[in-house]
């Protein structure tokens, strides 16, 4: 069974009197351990799809299951704790809390657990070590470069050992070098630590690092290179190849 199962999902918005369909009838499976890149032009709904997986949004129809839990049917009160446990989210705009240090920012998700202070310290130090910022623990976001901020965000996303890491345009605000740092890190997380990653991106370089790529165009999922094709509606699609 796949880690993420998306079945016949439709999503539309109401703007004034007009109904805008973002996508209709998407079906998708994501295997544990895969590194998937979702690409597409702006407005194609890729961020929306990511939000559905994270439980930040509900589909107009269809179901979303993550780790056997039917996320699309959960009540708002249940989603928060569920998210805390299962999802690590990285935004395009780093969204670190400016008044907290790097350490304190990374610690945030752990405050939702029952870990002791010492245990929390261990994990935060570990996470910051993985992203290569051990020497910046006491720095405030404004004292970090763009790339470093993003890496802190990633540390925050992995510190609670979530089931799934989701990234929305993580390199969108970064220059070439920083982008490379981030993508290398993601690659490492997938290879070495077997983390399941879904990344929404414009960046072709990012797509290169992924193990599989999907395009979302005009509300339809189109396959990319090296992957058996997926159909947009009806039958269950082929699964995406997992880790090597």
């Amino acid at each position: 069974m796949s880690l993420v199962e998306i079945r016949d999902v439709h999503k539309s918005f109401q703007r004034d009197t007009q109904r805008i369909d973002v996508f209709s009838g998407i079906t998708l499976d994501v295997e544990e351990g895969s590194f998937l890149a979702l690409m597409g032009p702006s407005g194609s709904g890729k961020s929306t799809l990511l939000n559905l997986i994270a439980g930040l949004d509900k589909p107009t129809s269809g179901t979303v299951r993550v780790a056997s839990a039917e996320v699309s049917a959960m009540k708002p009160g249940q989603l928060a704790p569920w998210r805390a446990r299962h999802i690590g989210f990285v935004f395009q705009q780093f969204n670190l809390l400016p008044v907290l240090t790097a350490y304190q920012n990374v610690e945030l998700p752990l405050l939702l657990t029952r870990l002791s202070k010492r245990e929390r310290e261990e994990r935060v130090t570990l996470a910051l070590g993985v992203v290569g910022l051990e020497d910046r623990v006491s720095h405030y976001p404004r004292q970090l470069s763009g790339g470093q901020e993003q890496r802190v965000s990633i540390a925050r996303a992995i510190v609670a050992d979530p089931t799934l890491i989701l990234l929305d345009e993580p390199t969108g605000q970064l220059d070439g070098k920083s982008s490379q740092e981030v993508l290398t890190l993601l690659r490492r997380l997938n290879d070495e630590f077997r983390k399941t990653i879904v990344i929404v991106t414009h960046d072709a370089h990012a797509a290169e690092r992924a193990t599989s790529v999907l395009h979302l165009e005009k509300g339809n999922l189109i396959r990319a290179t090296g992957v058996p094709s997926l159909r947009a509606s009806g039958e269950p699609a082929a699964t995406i190849a997992g880790a090597r």
Partner: protein
């Protein structure tokens, strides 16, 4: 609370001007609140301390104040011989018949029209014993037969010619100031005392205004009251001294308290609105941060709580500031006319720890009220939109 307090504390100081303005606004409300209640407190306390639970005060039947009362010598003697009156060490009854008049004296400073109706009280030797909280702090007691007076400490310094050795003129005569007396901060300190026999001829003739005596048995006040009021030879009302003076403070005390509450309530509304504006702006400015917290899995009610705490923190700072602003007022002497008795009374502003605590609580309540709707908005923020 799961969201670290540091986050809210530091965020509040990220916008120092806004936070400062809001805090100072609340500080002013709290300061006025404490100040005005300290005034009411001081007035009430001065009067409450005046009377003793162990004493009874006798006035003519129907009189509502010492001023309107009149008691003749015969009645005074009958009361002195009552078994309900305690005896002093020397075997004589602890009873104090007193003359009570108001004399207009020009106050120090201000214009020549500024007069106060000062209480001038005629006493006898036993008065000093009956009224246990009174003592001479400077000079000596007036000697019988001489035109000598003793001046309360709150009169000294506010009226001219009140130093020991000076002379004050009233009722067509000059009176020598021979002592100053204190009375535990009570209304007596705003009075001038002299011998009954000296005052009677120049004031209202051979009648007293009131009789104060020490109850032989303080618990048996009701019996004493019944006995004396029921006696057909006398036509009197008997009050417990403490209760009587507290009653005298009721009118003005209530007015001052009422004013305090009305004024600070109106001010509070303004301050709360200030807090509301500030917190809404804070929430609006930190939309991405709130989205992050909600995404990470913090429960909306944790977000609500954290913004309430932030608002309460700012208000608490304001409250502290307000307490500091109001504190210096403690001990200031204010004077006004107690309209119940038409007499001028001076008293100290009284800031108590209870009042300071009330001020702090008031501040925090204002903060929570002001922060509620903005905090709710933060908690209810649709994350998806916020992330766009």
């Amino acid at each position: 609370m799961k969201i670290p307090f540091m986050y809210n504390a530091r965020s509040a100081f990220q916008r120092p001007v806004s936070t400062a303005f809001t805090a100072v606004g609340i500080a002013l409300v709290v300061a006025v609140f404490i100040g005005m209640l300290a005034l009411a407190n001081g007035f009430r306390a001065a009067l409450a301390r005046t009377g003793s639970d162990n004493n009874a005060l006798v006035l003519r039947r129907g009189a509502d104040s010492e001023l309107s009362s009149g008691i003749d010598r015969e009645t005074a003697n009958l009361i002195a011989s009552s078994p309900h009156v305690a005896l002093a060490a020397d075997g004589r009854p602890l009873v104090s018949p007193e003359v009570y008049v108001l004399v207009p004296l020009v106050r120090l400073g201000g214009d020549s029209n500024a007069i106060g109706n000062v209480v001038v009280r005629g006493i006898s030797e036993k008065a000093w014993d009956v009224r246990a909280n009174v003592r001479v702090v400077e000079g000596r007691r007036p000697v019988s037969g001489r035109s000598e007076i003793c001046v309360g400490t709150k009169i000294v310094g506010r009226y001219p010619h009140t130093a020991i050795g000076d002379q004050i003129r009233f009722a067509g005569r000059n009176w020598d100031v021979v002592c100053h007396f204190s009375a535990g901060g009570s209304a007596f300190e705003s009075e001038i005392w002299g011998e009954n026999e000296q005052f009677m001829p120049v004031f209202r003739g051979q009648a007293f205004q009131s009789i104060s005596f020490r109850l032989k048995d303080a618990a048996a006040f009701e019996d004493a009251k019944r006995a004396l009021e029921g006696d057909k030879r006398l036509q009197v009302d008997v009050h417990r001294e403490s209760t009587f003076y507290v009653e005298q403070s009721r009118l003005l005390g209530n007015i001052l308290q009422f004013l305090a509450i009305v004024i600070t309530s109106i001010m509070a509304v303004g301050a709360i609105f200030g807090a509301v504006n500030t917190m809404y702006a804070a929430v609006a400015g930190r939309t991405p941060e709130i989205a992050v917290l909600l995404t990470l899995g913090f429960h909306p009610r944790s977000v609500l709580a954290s913004f309430l705490v932030e608002s309460a923190l700012i208000a608490a700072i304001g409250g502290l500031l307000g307490c500091l602003l109001a504190l210096p007022v403690n001990g200031f002497v204010a004077s006004t006319t107690n309209w119940s008795s038409f007499s001028e009374i001076a008293f100290n502003f009284r800031v108590t720890p209870g009042l300071l605590l009330a001020g702090m609580i008031f501040a925090v309540v204002m903060g929570v009220l002001g922060g509620f709707f903005p905090a709710r908005r933060a908690a209810k923020m649709p994350v998806v939109q916020a992330l766009r």
